[in-house]
Structures are given as C-alpha cells and as structure tokens.
C-alpha cells in the first residue's frame, strides 16, 4: 500500500508583496482549517507557500475561490529517528533508488520530528523507503 503514504500538501503561488502569508493564514482560519506545517520558498519576485493542513481539499477550494493559484502535491512524511545518521539513511535510500529530492522541510509533530519530502517519483520513493525500514507517516496520521 503505497498510496496511503502519499500526503497531500497544499501549494500556493504568491506574488512578492507584503501580506501574502497573512492572506493565506486568514483564509485557513476562516475555513476552520488547522495548519500543521508550512514552508515558504521564495524566488526572484514570487514565492510558493507549501503547507500541510487538516483538510487539503477544502483548503484548495477556499483558496481558489479567493483567487489564489493552488494545487495539491503528493509529499512523503518521514518519521525521523532522534539519533545521528537518521537523515543520512533517508538520503542514501533515495539516492540509491535514483530519486531526486525537489525540496524538503521539517516540523515537530505529536509523532516527533517529521521530515517532509517532495521527490520526483513519489511512489517509488515510498517503496524504497519502506523496504529499507524507514518509518513513514500515513496520510490519515497527518490530516
């Protein structure tokens, strides 16, 4: 079962002007949606807000209705072992499987430290990581 480990992340395009994150957060608040984790990637003149939220489908609808450009992206959530070498292990597994990491961010959840990975071949990544015994969160555990 690979699919249950694919976690839906909400990605939102933002123009580079003040108040964009506030607009996102306000939209989530008004829809009663919890934001568990987020990261902001910025480039020359624009950015992308990426977030794990309690109800990604509702979040997307809400943000789209407000005129934002959003999409859902499958990411993987790795439960990190709290010891040296934890990250190396994950990175090595993916490297051996020829899977490229597009970006990653981490947050602290009730399950401890969680590493979010966006990779080019998500399903392959899940398989490889599971085969190597790397603990992954299921979608139901996150949302």
């Amino acid at each position: 079962m690979v699919k249950k480990h694919l976690i839906q992340q909400v990605s939102m395009f933002t123009e580079n002007r003040p108040g964009r994150l506030a607009a996102f957060a306000q939209a989530m608040e008004q829809a009663g949606i919890d934001i568990y984790a987020f990261s902001i990637a910025e480039a020359d003149g624009f950015g992308v807000i990426r977030a794990l939220v309690s109800d990604p489908a509702v979040a997307c609808d809400r943000l789209t209705a407000l005129g934002f450009m959003v999409k859902m992206t499958d990411v993987i959530a790795v439960r990190m072992k709290d010891r040296p070498g934890g990250l190396r292990e994950v990175a090595e597994v993916l490297g051996r499987a020829d899977i490229n990491i597009d970006y990653s961010y981490a947050y602290s959840s009730k399950h401890g430290a969680v590493l979010i990975l966006r990779v080019d071949k998500a399903e392959d990544a899940v398989k490889s990581l599971k085969e190597s015994g790397v603990p992954l969160l299921e979608s139901a555990e996150v949302h």
Binding site: Q9, F13, D44, G45, G67, M69, V70, Y103
Partner: protein
C-alpha cells in the same frame, strides 16, 4: 503604373494642392508661414517633409467646418467621428471627394478578388460613421450586390446571409467572431450553410492571430482594411496576397516617421503613419498624423501592383513608450505574450527610473494549469517570458508572475502602462 510615373504624378498633385491651399486656406497659409515654407519651396516629392503636420486637434479646434476650403454649396455629404478620445469631429465631402473615396474602395475590393458576381453584406454602421456608406458605394461601384445590413440584430443578419447567398461581408473582426458564435448557437455552420468566402475587416485593431482564427473557424479569407474619417473613411485594403494594405499612390502619399524625430524610418521599420490626401477638396488633409504605428513596404507586390503597402496597424503613438532610447509599444508585448502558452494575454507594464536607467517591468498572469510548486519550473517560465520579450522589444525587461485574473481588465481602451518616471 511604373513606380517612377506614380511618384511624378504624386509630386504634381502635391504641388497643385499646396498652391491651392496657400491661396485659399487661411489655416494652411498661417501654418506654412509659421513653418517658414512657401509653395515654391516644394521642388520634389521629398519636399513634403518641409510641410507642417496636421493633427486631430486641428479638426477639433476648427469644429465643425472651419477647415473646409470649398464653398458650402459644393459640399454634398457630412460624416462625424464618434469622438472616443475627445470632442467629435466633422468631415465634409464634395461630389469629387465622394467619387475619389468610392474609387479607392472599388479598387480595393477588386484587389481582394470581389466583383459583379458577389453579394456583399455591409455590416458596418450606416450613418455618421463612414464605414457603412463608404463600403456601400464602393461595393456598388464594382457591380456587386449590396446587402446594407448595418449593425445589430445578428440572428437576422445570419438568416439574410444564408437566404441572399452572401459571398462577402464587411464588418469589424470582433463582430464577425460574434456572428460566428451566434451562428453556432443557431446551428448554422458558415462553411456548410452559407456562401460566405471573404471578409473585409477593420475599424478596430486586430492581429494576424485573429485572422488565422477567423479564417480557420469560418473557412473564409479575411482582408485588412484601413482608413479614418479624416482621410475620407475606409479607403484601402489588402489585395488577394494579404501581404499589406495597398495605399493608392494617386490618392494618398504616405510617410512612416520616427514619432520623436519626425525623420523617415528605414524601410520596413516601424513608425508613425503620416498621410497626405492628394485629391481631397472640401477638407484637404496634408501630412495628417493619424497616430497609428505601422510599417511601409515599397516593393512591388506579388499581385503586380506598384502602389506602396502599409503593414498591419501595430499600435497607437499615444501608447508608445521610450525605454532606454528604444520605442516600445504595448501591442508588441501583447503579441509576444500570445506565443507563450504558460501565461495569459493580460498584462501590465510598469516603468520606473532606477538611477539614470529606465526600468521596465512587465507583469503577466501565470495560467493555472502551469502552476507548479517547484521553484525551478516557475523560474523556467519566468525566464522564457523574459527572453521572449527581450527578443521582441530589443530591450531587456523584468518580468513578474502574477496570479490568474489578478491584473486589471479593461473594457474599451486599455490602460496597461503605468509610467512612474519623473524626467
């Protein structure tokens, strides 16, 4: 007519015109004196450059008929412009003027391949606007049957087009597209259910892309037409080659000038269209700055005609920006953006001065289906837009990606430029 003969004819007409106006028009005499030019100074065709310009405001300030040089009883027709950018202007015609106008259009329609066997639906407005009546008389002159449909009541227009076996239509490109949509709702297929094969389209800016769309959707050939009420009305069209609009040299002398220096641009280069009407009587027009930006092609056309051709109207002088010494038109930006599927066709241009340098920012809307949460993908799109614009404008610009539907939409005349430079 060989080009040299045409030029010699143009010179004679111009010389006569200048002498006549110097003698009979208070306005032109004052203008010419102010420019320190006398009719005797006009010694060759190029000397047209010594003559003063006329602009739209000359007509407005002399409203309604103070620029007319013929006695009122020789005037047989008036038309008036709608005054979209200011007060309305009135133009007047003698019988000779109407004949010249009709001759010009008759030649133009013939060059599009129209003739006695055709039924031409004139769906330009009849009335004060020059489009309807101009095309009407031109079409009659070539022996075609005219269906004076004017504008509006689109369903009836489509029924008549089918019933009367209309072979050509003259209207605005947007109206023809609208007719296409209405026809579809009526279950009418232009190609299958009508005899329509040609369209003479103008009176508003349109693009090659729009032509392709119309020609493909409706299965017809679409020809560009040009003219303004000051020049008489619609006057010139493309020939069957569809490679530029033939300006009949015996009727009009065209110059394409740099909008700043007023020097002629190099052949084929974009510039401001300046027209001298060589045969007009009631309201003579000398070096009229229409305000349209286009190109000039003096090569003999593949159709064999020696009359020079102007390209598609690419913008208005009022819209022109000068960025680091380069003339930039919003229409160029629009055209360039149309070739990039990742972004929409709406845009805003913001111009600032950073230090001593002009800084031009083009804001474009990213299309939803191309949004990616990977910065690399977005940067690639941004770079593509930047490079495409740089190639099209010959000036480097900054590009900003914006949310879809976030940039202003304009009804009527678009104001896509914010120029914050303080010079």
């Amino acid at each position: 007519m060989p080009r040299e003969e045409l030029r010699s004819l143009q010179f004679k007409s111009m010389k006569t015109l200048v002498y006549k106006l110097y003698s009979f028009s208070e306005f032109y005499r004052r203008r010419m004196r102010a420019a320190k030019v006398h009719p005797d100074d006009v010694q060759c065709l190029e000397d047209v450059r010594k003559l003063p310009f006329m602009v739209k405001s000359d007509l407005r300030e002399n409203y309604p008929d103070k620029l007319f040089v013929t006695p009122r009883d020789e005037v047989v027709r008036f038309h008036a412009s709608s005054g979209t950018t200011g007060k309305s202007t009135v133009v007047g015609y003698t019988q000779h003027d109407l004949d010249g106008w009709t001759t010009s259009l008759a030649r133009a329609l013939t060059s599009c391949g129209l003739g006695r066997a055709d039924t031409i639906q004139v769906s330009y407005g009849y009335g004060l606007f020059t489009g309807g009546l101009g095309l009407h008389y031109g079409a009659e002159r070539i022996g075609a049957a005219v269906l004076p449909a004017s504008v509006g009541n689109t369903e009836r227009q489509i029924e008549l087009m089918m019933d009367m076996q209309v072979t050509a239509i003259a209207c605005t490109p947007s109206y023809l597209l609208h007719m296409g949509e209405v026809a579809q709702k009526m279950g009418v297929n232009f190609l299958r259910d009508t005899k329509l094969r040609r369209a003479i389209l103008g009176a508003e800016p349109w693009s090659e892309r729009m032509r392709n769309r119309i020609e493909e959707d409706l299965g017809i050939k679409a020809y560009d037409i040009y003219g303004t009420s000051e020049l008489s009305g619609p006057l010139f069209t493309e020939c069957d080659e569809q490679k530029g609009i033939h300006i009949w040299g015996d009727l009009a002398l065209v110059e394409i000038l740099d909008p700043d220096t007023h020097e002629p641009v190099s052949p084929g280069e974009r510039g401001e269209l300046v027209v001298t009407m060589l045969q007009k009587e009631a309201l003579p027009i000398i070096r009229y700055k229409v305000g349209d930006i286009t190109t000039l092609d003096e090569e003999v056309c593949a159709c064999g005609r020696t009359h020079p051709r102007i390209g598609r109207i690419q913008g208005r002088v009022d819209d022109m920006l000068i960025i680091r010494g380069i003339n930039v038109f919003p229409s160029q930006v629009e055209y360039a953006l149309m070739s990039i599927p990742e972004v929409g066709s709406h845009f805003m241009i913001e111009v600032d001065r950073k230090g001593e340098l002009d800084d031009m920012l083009v804001r474009v809307e990213l299309r939803r289906e191309f949004f990616s949460d990977r910065i690399d993908d977005l940067m690639r799109i941004k770079k593509k837009v930047t490079h495409t614009l740089r190639a099209a404008l010959n000036v480097s610009v900054d590009v900003e990606l914006a949310n879809p539907d976030s940039l202003p939409r304009f009804e009527g005349k678009a104001k896509r430029v914010i120029d914050r430079r303080r010079i």
